[in-house]
Symmetry: C2
Subunit: 360 residues, 2 copies
């Protein structure tokens, strides 16, 4: 029996999300390197293996270490942290490791300290303005590549980008627009360097584009992760339907305030994180309540949503006509706003078939 | 050597914060029941014991279980989750346990299922509008107390409030205003019920009031927690000085973008949480950088701050004149916006004397 905030995982929905993506990229003849930072679980990783996936991306060297038990080809899709050189060397002895580089300082350091060969991507900024080199900055790109060419333990794999600005999109058209612009920048860059590096690849990937776009011409490898669970943010962008969201938090009702049509649930910022979205009615939403259906869940309950979160408390708004339906000691099922952050806060999953699934 | 995001704890500053509060309430002759949800550590808890503290508050039954190894008198300052009755019974056999109640449904359930005596507080809403009964709603309060009087395992301890709306204050005067109003509501209530319950107490506490106010007349017990570390939010309210903040995150620099005067650090939402504040220059701040000083830290570096966070990345704004001072592979020290959420995300502390301190 569930007695406290628990992240419920619908294995069927999750496996379906994985299968759909694998099929999509197989059809498109694009290599698929799913990002495992969302689920962070060896066991869920095996569901990808079953669909033929043989390489992954992660966002930290700790995650790479954890998954290296099971995976032989891992890209750490984060600007390489040279302070962790010992972990890099440990991993490079056991698996095919790729890292991201965007400066000659990093290349110089790696050249001095690497004990085995690793692959590297040059990180390109396609407009998100978080990390990476401007694709027109061939001066900096050349300096990195010229230096790396003389490093026996550094193998240039290609250019890697993350169009994270799609997460701010309000429509599928906006997402497609960003994707097309990003592909154009990356393929122009590839054309420039292809003669010198005939095997270079373009690695790209964010859940909105990867879910919405159908034509991936120009991209060699797709690398995204949130789709494994999806969430309310991706739904708002148009990346998934509500019935594709594969995780929901079980939250006990601990108090009822009929005078202001609110429930208090045990489920706060330490469970969900405090990410929110603004819905079509201009309401700030920290999570939406879904109907309980068998051992899983069904549709969204209209106008019942988390309106505020503190550390352990969630405040749920309920229409006047429905407030009497709720009882202290019963549980709500809540779809998260951002499943990556929510899954990161919870230490394990419980499947709708009552299996416990552990994670890093 | 620190190679990845690590929460550094300055034990001296932390012990000083604890001592200052203990002295303050001893002088004021108010009982002190510090809230341990901020640090969540048995070892840090012992620093309170050394100062004479003999009772604590926590925000979940899991935390109560963890601290019950070391503490004999624990209030779970969260509306009691009746689904966890087994944990309540387990705890009630070993320690003096107090819970919060605000409905007769909860009283009825506890009466049926409790195996040992526990204390309870009626939760009062003094204006934060999160949980609790309105202090003028004596109809509901009477119903709870009438029912509880006939429950052999329920002992009424008094009224408990949390003036959490002080966290939104912009000045010390606003905090004092809320505190005075809250005390007036609570003492009026106490006067009404004192004849019937001569031992009833008023338990209150939030870090802004407890830090700023000097006169606690009317309050019997103070119960707050953030002050153990303090943070940038409390500093903005006026509750602490910068040199009282006892935790800072060590974050390696992984990329430098001179074209836009930004550093990229390894340190994101999974380390800090995504809480932010708006400073006096209308900038959104997710953390401030402090000078490294010996094995601890000194003053804030002006105009160097985290301007954005994603899952693992922090983007640090740096003035044009200073961008060349920073190097890839060196570390920044970052003061958190909300230390409770940050400490909750990190699995342990490292003291400035290089001790590892574990937590729940």
């Amino acid at each position: 029996m569930i007695t406290k905030p628990t992240l419920l995982l619908d294995e069927k929905k999750c496996r379906k999300n994985i299968q759909t993506m694998c099929l999509k990229f197989m059809k498109n003849k694009v290599d698929f390197r799913p990002h495992f930072k969302t689920h962070q679980s060896i066991e869920i990783g095996r569901w990808f293996k079953k669909e033929g996936v043989d390489k992954i991306a992660v966002s930290s060297l700790d995650m790479a270490l954890y998954f290296s038990e099971d995976w032989n080809d891992i890209t750490v899709a984060f600007p390489v942290n040279i302070l962790e050189i010992e972990t890099i060397n440990r991993l490079a002895k056991r698996i095919k490791l790729n890292v991201l580089v965007e400066s000659i300082e990093t290349v110089g350091f790696l050249n001095e300290r690497l004990e085995d060969k690793i692959g590297f991507f040059v990180k390109i900024d396609v407009g998100y303005n978080r990390t990476g080199l401007n694709p027109t900055d061939t001066f900096s790109i050349d300096r990195i590549l010229d230096m790396a060419d003389s490093c026996s333990n550094l193998h240039f794999k290609g250019f890697l980008a993350h169009a994270g600005h799609t997460y701010k999109c309000k429509s599928r058209e906006q997402v497609i627009g960003i994707h097309n612009k990003s592909v154009k920048l990356l393929t122009t860059l590839k054309a420039k360097y292809l003669k010198r590096y005939p095997d270079l690849i373009i690695s790209s990937g964010d859940t909105p584009s990867s879910s919405i776009v159908d034509d991936f011409t120009g991209i060699d490898e797709i690398r995204h992760g949130n789709f494994v669970f999806y969430d309310l943010t991706q739904h708002q962008i148009g990346a998934n339907k509500i019935n594709q969201i594969a995780v929901a938090m079980v939250c006990p009702i601990v108090a009822i305030h009929k005078d202001r049509n609110e429930l208090v649930i045990y489920g706060g910022g330490v469970h969900f994180s405090k990410e929110s979205l603004v819905d079509e009615k201009s309401r700030t939403i920290f999570g939406r309540i879904v109907e309980i259906k068998g051992n899983s869940w069904g549709e969204i309950v209209p106008d019942v949503y988390i309106k505020n979160l503190s550390q352990e408390h969630g405040i749920v708004a309920v229409p006047d006509s429905k407030i009497s339906d709720y009882k202290i000691g019963s549980c709500l099922l809540v779809l998260p706003v951002h499943s990556c952050m929510t899954a990161n806060l919870m230490k394990s999953y419980k499947t709708t078939d009552s299996k416990r699934i552990s994670r890093l």
